[in-house]
Every structure is written in C-alpha cells, then in structure tokens.
Amino acid sequence: MAWVAKGAVALACVFASTLAMGEARAEKTVLNVGMAAIDAGRLDPHLSSTTPDKALFGWMFNGLVRFKPGTMNPELLEPDLAESWTSTEDGKQWTFKLRHGVQCHHDYGELTAEDIVYSLARAGDPKRSAFSSDFKDFDKVEAVDKYTVRISLKNPVPSLLGLLIPYNGGNVVCKKAAEEMGETFAQKPIGTGPFEFGEYKPKESVTLVANAKYFRGKPKLEKIVYRYILSDASRDLAFTSGEIDMLYGRQDQNWVDRIKKEKGAVVDVFDPGELSTLYLNVTKPPLDDIRVRQAIAYAIDRDQVVQFKGKDITRAAKSIVPIGYLGMTDDVPLLPHNLEKAKALLKEAGYPDGLTIHIIHTNLPGMLSMMEIVQAQLRKAGIILDMEVVEHATYHANIRKDMSPIVHYAAARFPVADTYLTQFFHSRSIVGTPTAVTNFSHCNDADAEIDAAKVETDPAKQKALWKTAQQKLMAKVCGIPIYEQPQVWAHRDTLDFGFKLEGSLTLGPVINEVTHFTQ
C-alpha cells in the first residue's frame, strides 16, 4: 500500500502547486460569475428577455439614456449615448444630440445617428423584436445629421425616455454588424457597452472582454466569464472554492443566512422586487362572483407568507403595482386577513361547505412553496385548491390558454405603473386575444384610466389616473398581490462595483468600467 500513499501525496503536491500558481497573481482582473441556467438563449437584446440573457446584455449595451448605475428610479435618468435632449411643448417630438466618438465593438466603426435610427426601427419591428409593441406610438425616427436623432411620436408618450434606456428594445445595436450578420447576430451581438462579446462555449459559459475603446474609459476588469451552473449546490460550492466571484442567489432566507456566514461573502439584495400576484379570472365561475374572489383575498395571510419566505428577502405587497414604481399607490382597498369574513362571504355566495378550485401551477420551487402556503391558508376558509403542478414551460403555455382560473405570476417590469397595468390589466393584453400579453384576470375596468395616463403630460394628473386604475382593479379583486421578492445575488468582498447597488433593471448586478477587484 505504501506506493499508493506516496502516489497520493505526489498527486496532491501537483494539484496544490497548480492551485497556488493560480492564486499567486496580484490583482484579479477576471470576474467569474455563476448563473443559474443551463445555457444561453438567443443573445439578441431585441429578442430575448429571459433573466440569464438580460444580465449579460446589461454589460454589453448602451441606450440613449440610462439609470444612474446601481439605481432604477425612472425620474432620475442620465445621458448615455445621447449627451443631451430636448422635446417640443406637446411632447410629440424629441431631439437627441449624440456623443461623438463612440465606437462599436469589434471595430464596427463609430456609432452615429444612423445606428440609432436602425436600432429603434429594429426594436419596433415585430419580425425582429419581441418588444415591438413598446414602440407602437413611434411615428418616425430620423437622423437629422451625423450626431442628431429626431423621434416623432403619433401621440405623446410620457415615459418615452424609459424606452430608450439600455433595456429590451432600448438597447442600441450597431447597424453595420446587425445587417451584416442577420440571423447570426445573436451569436456575436455587437453594441457599444463596456464589455464586448468574446467567446461562447455551449452549455458552459459566455466570455465578455473589456471594450478598450469604451467611451467612458477602458474597464478595469479584463474579462467577465459568465458560467452557466444549473445546480444550486454546485454553484454555491464553486463560490466557496473560489472558482466564481459572484453568483446568482436563491430567494431563500436559509441561503442568505448561510452565504453571509461564509468568509468574504457579501449578499446583494436589490430592486426590482418581483411581485407575486394571484390573478383571478373574473369571467369563469365560481370566480365570476366577486364574493368568492373577496373570500379568497380575505383568507390569505400575507404576513405569514413573508415570515415563511424570510424577512431579508421578502416584503408584503401593497398594491397590484410593485412598490417603488412610478405611480404606485398604497391607497387601495387591499383586503386584510380575516378568516371569518372569508367564510361569511363564501356562505353568502352559496358555498356554505366551501368549494374546490382546480388550478395549474409551475414546479419552480420558489413559486411553488409560496403557493403551498396559500393552499393551506385557503383550506382554513374551506377553499380547496386542487393544484396540478406541471413543468415550467407547460405552465407558461397552459396559463396562456386560460386553463387555470387562478394564475400565480411573479414579475418585475420597467418601474412605471403603466407597464404593469397595461400588461396585466388592460383588455388588449387579455390572454387568447391577438394582442395578448399577460392579462389573466380578463379585467378591463381600468382601460380608460390606463390609456388616458399614457398620453397625460401633467405628471400629477397622470399619477392620479394610475391611482384610480389601481383602486378600481383592486376593488374588483382582479388580482391579489401577495409579496415582493427583490433580486438576490452574492459577491466576494474583494469585488468593488464602484457604486452602491440598490437596483438593476436587468436583474443582474451592474458591472461597468469602474468595477474592479481590490486584491
């Protein structure tokens, strides 16, 4: 056996020395990120809006304007590719002056007004973009000169600047590259951001490299290796072993507590909060009876859900629009937990012995655990949720076919009340219709207010309209907002973002030219 022992020692030495070599370097310039996904999707910012892809886009693209890094307050936008902008009195024409000398990745030349015109046209074209409906009020986008872009609108869009941030259709792609590559653009997306596309390894990683010509200066990090690590356990272990420096966390209090105890680990909890809401189909019996909907709302105990999910990463919802969104109000009829009332309402509605509702739910653990609590709470009121748990893609397909009278949906959107109200409560968005998005409740009671708010140029009046919309929809119990969960990530304390991370609309931490390692 002696030779075995000797061999083992020798092997150990070899491995130890290779490890030591890796760690001996001075200051780290490669950021290894662990993402909970099996692979990249189509890496085209105008097509994909999946969480793993969006985080990458955030590091590669610019918009005309942007949030201050690390924040997401729509009232405080700052210049990005545009240096300045003006709008006409009626808000129907906007003129943007571009920065000079911005370079497209991989030597695709200087970014000019032509690129902006092309990019916005692309984002507004349903054949090439998933976000075309955001741009439906755009009449004309034209290049006045090399560095001036003019956007003419059919009617005023109060949150226009919000469409021009580096997010979804606002991400600016370079014309020459997109035209040259066509369908293959998604395999090598070209933008102007601090990091450019390096390499893609299937089922393994995407590597971004520093854009040396970045207009805000060369990034301090040389590389970002974005690794797809599906298994939660291995992602955590890879962080412990030092192979990754930043990771997508779990929206789970136990996870937060455990990672916090790890040496040199910092847990990041930042906005946007994903609002979990139960959407009740008001057209289907028994939910077409408002008393049944109210009974369900009264039977749910938000505080218990928050307690179960963990206080660091959960907050009770206050309205059908997430907290912090422009136009959100908590002055709404939010029904408190009251079991007696729930039972009384059910009796009044003709269900003295309770009732059973068959619903479809995803098998995603985070969403399922909350639904199981709700299931238990409803049972106390005599409402039996007969839950059919299906795999996530099946769930998405089936809820869009109206197969579940109660839909549990968790989402974060651009932080303006309009996006949430339009996508979830406008009659245009009702599932099954040609313009469907995610209106599962079939409510259309606030169409007038939502539409009026879209063209209202007076901010105070606009907020009032959004408030009325929320009040109407809440009074009808179209949706029962339960709780909000912000984004949860963790990073090594030697990584300095360069700003305070409070929010990131791309759902991944903001990494830009100032982000660096301190050791």
């Binding site: 092997l11 150990a12 070899v14 491995f15 130890a16 290779t18 099996i38 692979d39 990249a40 999707g41 189509r42 097509l47 994909s48 809006s49 999946t50 892809d53 349903p126 054949k127 998933a130 976000f131 075309s132 409906s133 979804n168 369908e183 998604a186 395999q187 390894k201 299937p202 089922k203 393994e204 990683s205 690794r227 797809y228 690590i229 599906l230 298994s231 356990a233 291995s234 272990l237 890879a238 412990t240 072993s241 192979e243 990754i244 299906v390 795999e391 996530h392 893609a393 099946t394 998405h396 397909a397 089936n398 989402a411 996508q423 219709t433 040609p434 313009t435 469907a436 998005v437 995610t438």
Partner: protein, 313 residues
C-alpha cells in the same frame, strides 16, 4: 463477418426511424412553446407568432414531419430553435466530453469491478465477499447526485485537489484530467458496483464447472485457474452488462454533468427538453439510438473475441 456487421447496421434503420417518429410526435404533443422560451414572458402575441413562423413550428405537425423526414434522409438536421446554431455543431461540440467521461467511467468500473467480483467469488461468504457485496449494494443504491456532492465536498472543497466546475477546455492535458477525475470516479463507482455483482455471480457459476475441478486435479496453479481459465469464461455476462450499461450510462451522465458542470449530451438533452428545442432533441435521439445500436453490435462482436466458440457459430 463484414456481411454480419452490414446486416446489423441495416436492421438499425427501422429502429432509428421508429425512435425518431416517437420523439417527433411526443415533443410536439407536450404543451410548451419554443418561441416563448426564446422571447421570454414579456413578448407580445404578435412577436410570438412571428417567431413561431420563423422557426417553422406554426405549420401542421404532418407537414413538419414530412419536411423533417426529407431533411433527415438528406442528412440535414437543421438548426437549434433556441440558439440558431446547426444541430450537428451543437452535438459535436459536447460529444467529446461525453465520450471521454463514459469511456473513463467504464474503465474505472471494470478495473475496480472485475477483480473485486472475482475475489468475492473465490472467497465466497468470507469477509472480503461480504465487504464487496455491501460495497456494491451501496454503489447501486446511492443516487448519483448525492455521491457527486460528497465527492465535491471532500476533494474540491476540503482537499482542494480538483475544481468544482469541471468544464475547462480540452487542450491542456493536465487540466483535462483534473476536470475529468471526479465525474469519472462518480460514474465509475456506479459502474463498478454493477460489474462486481455480475462478475461475482458469473464466476461462482464457472468455478463450479467440471473443467475447473479437472484443472485443479491436474495440479494447475490456483492463480492460473482463476485468472486464465475461469475468468475468461465468466466474462461474457460481464461484457453484456457493460454493453447494456453503456447506453444507460450516457443517460445517467445527466446528473453527473449537471452537478459537476460539464458540458455533454445529457445536459444538452435536458436543456433541449426544457426549452422545447425540437430540432436539437431530434438530432440527439438519432445519436443516442445510433450509439445503442453500435454498442450492442460491438458487444456481440466482443463475445467472439472472448470465447472463440461464439465466433464459429
């Protein structure tokens, strides 16, 4: 010999056809939508329909099937619905990782399993036998992902000999071995458990044969009896198991690949299934079915090599 091989390969064609048809229909009967996976949940109906049209999944299933068969015969496997890359490339990219892992696991399994099973049979009902049997039972009943996490905790976190992310490139041989070690051991242990059990029972049978007694009576050294005469005769069931298991192993590697973060066929299949990437799924099924056919053929050919009597028949 050649005629036999060709005949076997031709017989595989209807099998492949059947597998493909089943996969084709099953994948499309499942609810779920590749367009939705690509565009995410904020996409409008219009964008989704455009994407479906672009992907060609809006046509009737019969039309899609006809198109698919024509392309398949012409050797065109199309492009991945999700990534837009050719399916052939998607499979070829990860195939080396899977082959490397499976072959190593089988070697590890055989190197541990055959001697252990043999000793176990020789020392029947003695402590070494009990130990081997208990070990193999443990190996069989241990879920692959649990043993994987345990291996990671011991060798990647505590001892730090191996990396947690066993992905790495295939260029650097040292790095490649380091990346391969833990996943191969993990799969190899399960393999070894199977091999031990089969070797043991097969050896027990052979050791009771008349010719073994004759050899012993003739005074042939015990070592030669066991390792030359008995083992060779006992190996046929072992080879069968290894052959059959190779197919299962490729499937079992899914969990190992996910926990150790290795690219590979298993992971490719899971992602194709989750994302409803029909074309990749179809391409992979062809590879799988083909591998099983080839392995079965090789297994049969190995019989003749181990036992010349089989060849004569």
């Amino acid at each position: 010999m050649l005629g036999y091989v060709v005949k076997r390969l031709l017989l595989a064609v209807p099998t492949l056809f059947a597998v493909l048809t089943i996969v084709f229909v099953l994948a499309r009967v499942l609810p779920g939508d590749p367009a939705q996976t690509i565009l995410g949940d904020q996409a409008t109906q219009e964008a989704l329909e455009n994407m479906r049209h672009r992907l060609g999944v809006d046509k009737p299933i019969a039309a899609q099937y006809a198109e698919f068969l024509v392309d398949a015969v012409r050797g065109k496997w199309g492009t991945s619905l999700v990534t837009g890359k050719p399916v052939v490339d998607e499979v070829r990219n990860v195939l080396p990782y899977t082959i490397e892992l499976t072959v190593t696991a089988i070697i590890v399994g055989a190197l541990i399993g055959v001697p252990l099973g043999t000793w176990s049979a020789i020392y029947r009902n003695r402590w070494i036998d009990y130990l081997a049997r208990m070990g193999s039972l443990l190996g069989l009943s241990f879920p692959a992902f649990v043993s994987a996490i345990l291996l990671l905790l011991a060798f990647a976190i505590e001892l730090r000999w191996f990396p947690v992310i066993s992905a790495g490139g295939l260029d650097d041989p040292v790095e490649r071995l380091r990346n391969l070690a833990l996943p191969a051991i993990n799969l190899g242990i399960i393999m070894a458990a199977y091999v031990t059990r089969v070797t043991r029972s097969s050896m027990l049978e052979v050791l009771g044969e008349d010719y073994i007694r004759t050899a012993r009576a003739k005074g042939v050294p015990r070592r030669a009896i066991v390792w030359r005469h008995a083992l060779r005769n006992a190996l046929i069931p072992v080879v069968t198991v290894v052959g059959l298991y190779l197919g299962i192993l490729i499937g079992n590697s899914v969990l190992t690949e996910i926990v150790f973060n290795r690219p590979g066929l298993g992971k490719l299949m899971v992602s194709a299934l989750n994302q409803r990437d029909y074309t990749v799924l179809q391409g992979m099924m062809v590879v799988y079915a083909f591998v099983i056919v080839i392995v079965n053929l090789l297994t049969d050919l190995t019989y003749g090599f181990i036992d010349p009597r089989v060849k004569r028949q």
